[in-house]
Subunit: 253 residues, 2 copies
Amino acid sequence: MAAWGQRLAGVRGVLLDVSGVLFDGAEGSGVPIAGSVEAVARLKRSRLKVRFCTNESQKSLGDLVRLLQQLGFDISEGEVTAPAPATCLILKERGLRPYLLIHDGIRSEFDQIDTSNPNCVVIADAGESFSYQNMNKAFQVLMELENPVLISLGKGRYYKETSGLMLDVGAYVKALEYACGIEAEVVGKPSPEYFKSALQEMGLEAHQAVMIGDDIVGDVGGAQQCGMRALQVRTGKFRKISPEFTASPPLFC
Amino acid sequence: MAAWGQRLAGVRGVLLDVSGVLFDGAEGSGVPIAGSVEAVARLKRSRLKVRFCTNESQKSLGDLVRLLQQLGFDISEGEVTAPAPATCLILKERGLRPYLLIHDGIRSEFDQIDTSNPNCVVIADAGESFSYQNMNKAFQVLMELENPVLISLGKGRYYKETSGLMLDVGAYVKALEYACGIEAEVVGKPSPEYFKSALQEMGLEAHQAVMIGDDIVGDVGGAQQCGMRALQVRTGKFRKISPEFTASPPLFC
């Protein structure tokens, strides 16, 4: 206990990853991870600030929060940092009209975005919509641009559903990067902007916060590079330690 | 002319890429590139040895040769080096049972291969068969292996059909490499074994041969790394010079 107290000294806020930490997804639904509903409730009863930090890009923010509420979690939309709203801001600021390689479940987030005559590609966890035809369309859009812009909602390698491990958006980002000879701009974890935005919402400095996640790159590595502490849970996609991906070893739960 | 004579001094054999050099593919068929039927005929009337070096992995060798013959080319199966037969040899030698992420058009090449209880993945230009479901199956097979083996028939970024540029197998290889944290073994161009095998069939040393292709990495770079000379044609997928990929600048046709 002394060791934990020392490791977490000065922490005033907790950033919680969602998928693989609070619940495991399943076709259109999900199952809470044992103890997680109560853990969130306890955190919220404590003096710690809590924010939910997800790279969810198959469901709209509203759908995700409704699902989590149905599973018993105390959560509201205003407590969540998610990549789709941040992406819409970037698109508007830069006058970008995307070809959307995304899941139908998140399409409503882009309702206000002009997608005519695309001058960039936005890629998210499209699941079954990662058909050859859709990937090839994204590829062709990028190859026709003088300055190709590929914006990715996260860059996860895979995630866990109750049925097993599933390929995540990062794999398909790598495919387009290689085919086009370009590098994607990542909106979402592990980009520093994502973590800074979440910290700002909490009114905390990096050294006052700890990130809890199951992804050694997106959660642990990203948070550490921002000066935060990080805890890796052994649920979700957790398989083994991959220290080569992290600045320093994560604290395990 | 003097310059060309000097550059090609001592050349006794020509290795010809097929797609983008002899013809542009189209749905189930193709169109010869202007002048290519006659160019092959002239080469075959000359004293030069000729070999066709393809990474074709959507069609069986028999189907490819039949198509080329229908388009007017003087070509037979024995004159072609292709990755599928080489892959079958490797699978048998190493006792590997693949999950085949391939196009139905090439499935017959693997008729004699045991695919039960897979202990590796073979990936080729699967086209429309690059569905999320099939990619995820390949990913899950690899993640369940202690020593994951991914064998790729070529690693091309894209190729050209009459309808436009199309994503090639290399993009999907990168996706699986990233998701699984592994590196694929490439059978086909630009692997040195591929070019050595073709040279052996021709009875030539590397310095006696010139490779002609439209792919700066697979054709030009691969051949140069084996000590051959290389010519890049401006047909097929040719877009612009990408010197960063090559050991030395290619000779242009």
